[in-house]
């Protein structure tokens, strides 16, 4: 019972999110701090992408019992930099049949959203207090921006990134990129629905869309482990992996079928930018998962001197765990089949996260109205079961009809 009340009992917070730095008038000094923050975040992203690519190659190599990059720099750590520089010197090819303007636009549409998503991630700040740090006499959050729309901003940008992939494949004027991009857009929008429904439960407990407020409410309520930490978190992880087109959901660039997927026709720097965006998305998706479900930078602050380092350290450790997980998945799991991918997204993840959202919502409202919570849970679970039965009945009916149609057109097998 106590678990249930903590689950539903978080008070309602009507906090209007805003970085205190930008609440008042904006003078030149504040613009200076903003530019400094942006440049630091930008450099941090680029360096971490560089390290991530190296880390992935090295770790996959280890799991395959190979050595991996070992020549450029100690442990081959500069391999990514070397590859990047090499790509500057490679010929930039634009296919004859391509739509030139769109072909050139697509890498921007992939890369720019990848950079922007990181802006809303809090990477530090002591959340046992109000999560601010003081720089040059100004109080500010350790995140680039904290707009009130917060997570909606992340969802909007991940929708724009779909355009990058779609247009890249379409404008190439070639078979395999087109197939790859059609697959990619269907996959990404399918899992975006599951992703969005999983995040909705987080908004129930936080009462705010701002990432800073979400982290602050998680710190008050043990990260809301029961409400958001199990079902929505797992749905988010699976949907996030599919959204990133990472293995085991990398049908977008299934080499055996599609050459390289949507970026087959891209070479030189244009390819490099797609590659950069892809790995940057891995890092930002991990950072968003940490922010929404695992308390962001919160964690014990163990020393008084240099206390501001600890939240950044906790944040990095949590993000690193996700990055390791993504690489591990890639080394371990075989690729899904396309129908399995679609079935998992539409027929499992979406109904599950919708049902869980309604269950938690009903529990919270029951708690606020002063009803006993246990009957509400029982009724909610019964409703979810009924929904699952209906859904599996519909799936079975559709499958039976499809097979019957096939028998009618092709004849039953000998």
């Amino acid at each position: 019972m106590s678990a249930v009340t903590t689950l539903a009992g978080m008070g309602d917070r009507a906090v209007l999110a805003a970085d205190p730095l930008l609440r008042g008038d904006i003078d030149l000094g504040i613009v200076g701090i903003v530019v400094l923050k942006v440049v630091v975040a930008f450099a941090l992203l680029l360096v971490s992408v560089m390290l991530m690519i190296w880390f992935e190659r090295k770790l996959v190599a280890d799991m395959h019992n190979r050595i991996g990059p070992a020549v450029a720099g100690p442990f081959g750590i500069l391999q990514t930099l070397a590859d990047g520089i090499k790509l500057f010197f490679k010929e930039d090819l634009i296919p004859d049949r391509s739509d030139r303007a769109v072909f050139k636009l697509a890498p921007y549409l992939s890369l720019v959203p990848a950079f922007l998503v990181f802006a809303i991630v809090p990477i530090g700040g002591d959340f046992s207090g109000d999560g601010t740090v003081t720089w040059f006499g100004e109080r500010t959050y350790l995140q680039v921006a904290d707009p009130p729309v917060g997570v909606l901003f992340f969802l909007a940008l991940s929708s724009i990134a779909v355009y990058g992939v779609m247009l890249a494949g379409w404008s190439s004027g070639s078979k395999y990129p087109l197939l790859g991009s059609v697959r990619a857009s269907a996959q990404m929008i399918s899992y975006e629905a599951a992703l969005g429904l999983a995040i909705a439960t987080v908004f129930l407990t936080s009462g705010s869309l701002s990432t800073h407020d979400i982290v602050a409410t998680q710190v008050e309520g043990n990260w809301n482990v029961l409400a958001t930490g199990v079902v929505p978190f797992l749905v988010f992880l699976v949907a996030g992996t599919a959204e990133l087109n990472r293995p085991p959901f990398d049908l977008v660039e299934a080499e055996q079928e599609l050459v390289g997927g949507f970026h087959t026709e891209y070479s030189s720097l244009r390819f490099a930018l797609f590659f950069l965006a892809e790995f940057m998305n891995v890092i930002t998706m991990s950072a968003i998962a940490v922010t929404l479900f695992l308390g962001g930078p919160s964690g014990p602050i163990l020393t008084d001197t240099l206390g501001w380092v600890w939240p950044i350290l906790w944040f990095s450790v949590k993000v690193f765990a996700f990055l390791f997980g993504f690489v591990w998945l890639r080394a371990t799991l075989p690729r899904f089949r396309y129908d399995q991918l679609m079935d998992l997204g539409w027929k499992v993840l979406i109904p599950l996260s919708l049902g869980w959202f309604l269950l938690i919502a009903a529990m919270r409202v029951a708690d606020a109205e002063g009803w006993p919570v246990a009957p509400v849970v029982v009724v909610g679970l019964a409703g979810m079961t009924l929904g699952a039965v209906l859904l599996s009945g519909a799936v079975a009916k559709a499958r039976a009809e499809r097979l019957a149609d096939l028998d009618a057109t092709e004849g039953v097998d000998a």
Binding site: F89, Y176, V182, I189, A362
Partner: protein, 160 residues
């Protein structure tokens, strides 16, 4: 409130400049040796025999259309999720009714096979029972495998 978006705008400009300047650098540094073969669609060395298809299976469109239903549901759920404390029981009943309507139509769609992607799961005889090991396995030396219909030494069939 719009001041909160200032860093986003700065980051947008920086990201855009990064991409644009990289292209400028690449244009200055990269060689340009155009060739017909390089500008042709890449199909692993096979010369493209037909135009790129402009149509693809209608199922992809269906996915996009059904996605819109859920996207709209999400659009309605988010504001309620944030403000549900003040709306109480009335808000909950409204959202439950709304979700029920969406879910019911979703079940209808699935029941009608809108999201049926699967392969035919049925045991088929992949090989005709008339085929035996003597009828399918060729003996080396009697015939050169893969060269049926070609005269050996005639290169016209090979180089396209």
């Amino acid at each position: 409130m719009l001041g909160q978006y200032l860093p986003v705008v700065v980051l947008l400009i920086l990201a855009f400049l990064f991409a644009a300047l990289s292209f400028v650098a690449s244009r200055l540094l990269a060689p340009r040796r155009p060739h017909d073969r390089k500008a042709a669609p890449y199909e692993c060395g096979i010369i493209p025999g037909r135009e790129t298809p402009e149509r693809f299976p209608v199922r992809f469109f269906l996915v996009a259309m059904i996605f819109i239903v859920f996207d709209i549901e999400i659009v309605f759920l988010y504001p309620w999720a944030v403000a549900h404390g003040g709306l109480g029981l009335f808000g909950l009943v409204a959202v439950l009714l709304f979700s029920l309507a969406v879910f019911e139509s979703f079940v209808y769609l699935i029941g009608n096979g809108a999201l049926e992607w699967g392969p035919v799961r049925r045991v088929r005889h992949a090989v005709s029972p008339a085929r035996t090991s003597t009828s399918t396995i060729r003996r080396a030396g009697v015939r050169e495998v893969g060269l049926e219909g070609r005269t050996i030494g005639d290169e016209s069939g090979r180089a396209a």
